[in-house]
Symmetry: C2
Subunit: 401 residues, 2 copies
């Protein structure tokens, strides 16, 4: 595969951002990632006087952006705003070619994948990917209905997402003896990780007994097993140009994409997400690495059981063994690998269209700070749509000489 470098990134604060519009979130992320690259600087789209100023050829310029890929799940329902590619493109003075992608909660990683196809095609050499979701303006009951649009409404309407994942949790408990306490440990760990992430929605340690005694949402899942409703945006800039200049920047080593049936009733197994396995195998093969080579992973923990399934389906632990591994602190600092160093969807927050982009942005920044002093460090991002109908996996690396 042609080398793709992550040369810029930005993540807005995630949370209940009452004073922010969808557009302002997009704008902050777009200009945030542009300003993170060594080159032209922008205040916002109104201040464009720096655009086109003569700069050394080696520096990054706005005009280097050949195309923009926009991820969002449901601004149509949340704000009656579609055609988001045009909304974002016009923020930039050069009004670049732009695309909008939707794949429910996997919209973000799908936009990254589309951008990669654009780069690999040779048609584009530098692209910007941005994902955003503004969810908190809707009533919680409306948000729940809107999110249900990610499952097959003819077959699963009436089932909320917690109910679907609760079925997966029950199946896993029955088959492998997984306990609610192991699920609670996942939530607790992700809240601890979020203490180190200033962008996270919740930066507070939650004791295990508080989690275990929180209200039941869909048995066995309790309040603290569920990711929140969030506002937020994230952006990355990817390039295949001047690769040598960016040798110290993270590299996308491989990506994979799997599909499964939209509704649980059509699945062969309820104790795994086969789309994750397909996507992971593709990505590992392309990156020429094995699960044991991964040091950090951002996985799709929309519910605690989803992180447990991911840890098994991504190959970090054998099927049925992730519960115990989590209990033994194997997925936090000092463990086999750090899963969800950002706090994950659970504690960092889950503005759905932003999540997949945030994973890549976060891991790029995390790799820059936490890679091995010498050699290559690998990180993995895993983003899921619906209850596992779409899964996309990315593998990144950072090399220090």
């Amino acid at each position: 595969m042609k080398k793709i470098k992550v040369i810029g990134s930005y993540i807005t604060k995630f949370g209940e951002l009452w004073d922010r519009s969808l557009e302002s979130l997009f704008e902050e992320a777009v200009f945030g990632s542009l300003n993170s690259v060594d080159g032209e600087k922008f205040t916002n789209r109104k201040v464009t006087h720096q655009y086109g100023t003569t700069m050394s050829e080696a520096k990054f310029k706005l005009s280097d952006i050949d195309a923009v890929f926009v991820a969002n799940m449901a601004a149509g329902q949340f704000a009656n705003q579609l055609h988001l590619n045009a909304l974002v493109s016009q923020m930039l003075p050069n009004n670049p070619v732009s695309f909008r992608v939707e794949a429910a909660c996997a919209s973000g990683s799908m936009a990254i994948e589309m951008a990669e196809l654009g780069l690999l095609s040779g048609r584009y050499r530098t692209v910007l990917v941005v994902g955003a979701e503004k969810m908190t303006d809707a009533m919680v009951s409306d948000s729940t209905k809107i999110l249900a649009g990610a499952s097959e409404y003819q077959k699963e309407y009436g089932s909320t997402f917690p109910a679907l994942y609760a079925l997966l949790a029950q199946a896993h408990m029955q088959e492998y003896g997984t306990t609610t306490n192991q699920l609670a440990k996942i939530a607790s760990k992700n809240h601890i990780h979020a203490l180190n992430n200033p962008k996270a929605q919740f930066r507070k340690e939650i004791p295990i007994d508080v989690i275990n005694n929180s209200m039941v949402v869909a048995s066995p899942l309790r309040l603290f097993d569920c990711s929140p409703i969030s506002d937020g945006a994230a952006s990355v800039i990817l390039t295949t140009k001047n690769i040598k200049k960016y040798s110290n920047k993270p590299t996308i080593e491989g990506f994979g994409h799997g599909q499964d049936s939209l509704s649980l009733v059509d699945r062969k197994s309820l104790t795994e997400l086969s789309a994750t396995k397909i996507a992971a195998n593709q990505a590992y093969r392309q990156a020429k690495v094995k699960p044991k080579d991964i040091s950090f992973a951002e996985v799709h923990d929309c519910f605690t059981i989803a992180e447990l399934l991911a840890c098994e389906d991504l190959g970090f632990f054998r099927k049925g063994e992730a519960g115990k591994a989590i209990d033994n602190n194997m997925t936090t600092y000092g463990g086999k690998l750090v899963v969800n160093p950002s706090g994950g969807l659970k504690a960092c927050g889950h503005p759905v269209g932003a999540t997949g982009v945030k994973q890549i942005a976060f891991l790029s920044e995390y790799l820059e700070k936490n890679s091995k002093i010498k050699g290559k460090t690998f990180a993995l991002a895993h983003n899921v749509g619906g209850s596992g109908a779409t899964a996309i996996v990315h593998i990144l690396s950072k090399t220090n000489k």
Copy 2:
């Protein structure tokens, strides 16, 4: 550019399809295009016994489909169904990788463009593109509101699409003396073309005086200047594999993509769509043809004025001269070129997410029946999102030896 062949296509009936669901429209188009290729045949997704049967290597098989690209504008609002890539992928027994694209009324051509990037990247060799929209289940007032999601709702909310295009019509009339009778001629011509298209929503000749006396929707646009609200789907199969075998199939010679501001207030000119000009120039350059080489064009006539603008912005006639050319029958059978042989959005119908795919499907089939006996025949497809914020142009050819 690597050669891309259109090896299969299908268009459902367009119209008010009260007995059809979004899913059934997708399904008819997907299996319709698969069955149009010489190879494995399928009845529908329930009958899969022919999948995997041993066939000669040369024949097309379902397993040749590497990826599916799904176009839809607003099923989120119309049916609370998102995650449409997964919805379509699960119709196929091999559950292929799938993507969903949205760019308002340009969703269809953007899905084709994304599919082309996928093919040109080398990651996929044969892809299926399908677009569908099921609009008539909503009240007309709701549909109008949903369609407004294609413009910038903070700046243009309250303006319906007819009102925005009426402003463009007024500007063109004032600057170039374009008349309402010339606009009426466009509608009349497209209704005549639709008489020859069995899939068209309206297959009835509409006399000029009926058009000129129909009710005013947004002055100067009357009822018959506006495209209808429609249900429908279309699909094409594109490949870069076994090109020699498909030498008699239409070829995609080039494509271009332009962006402009979402709202009219930010435009430099109201008498042209600059996004169309950018897209057309790219496509002509890539295809190495000029506007005069085009024999057939499907252009985005959501309103009659939109076809007139397209005829100028695509270079078929000079700025300000399309009105007279249309009056002189230059854009119908026997003219300089045939514009909207399908009847266009106006008479064939405009299920928004399907339109851009239908243009390519229709032109491929039309070229197979109407290309020059010897030599190369060129056709152009032009699809617009909103009031011109996104425009995508494709150029196809068919060669007879």
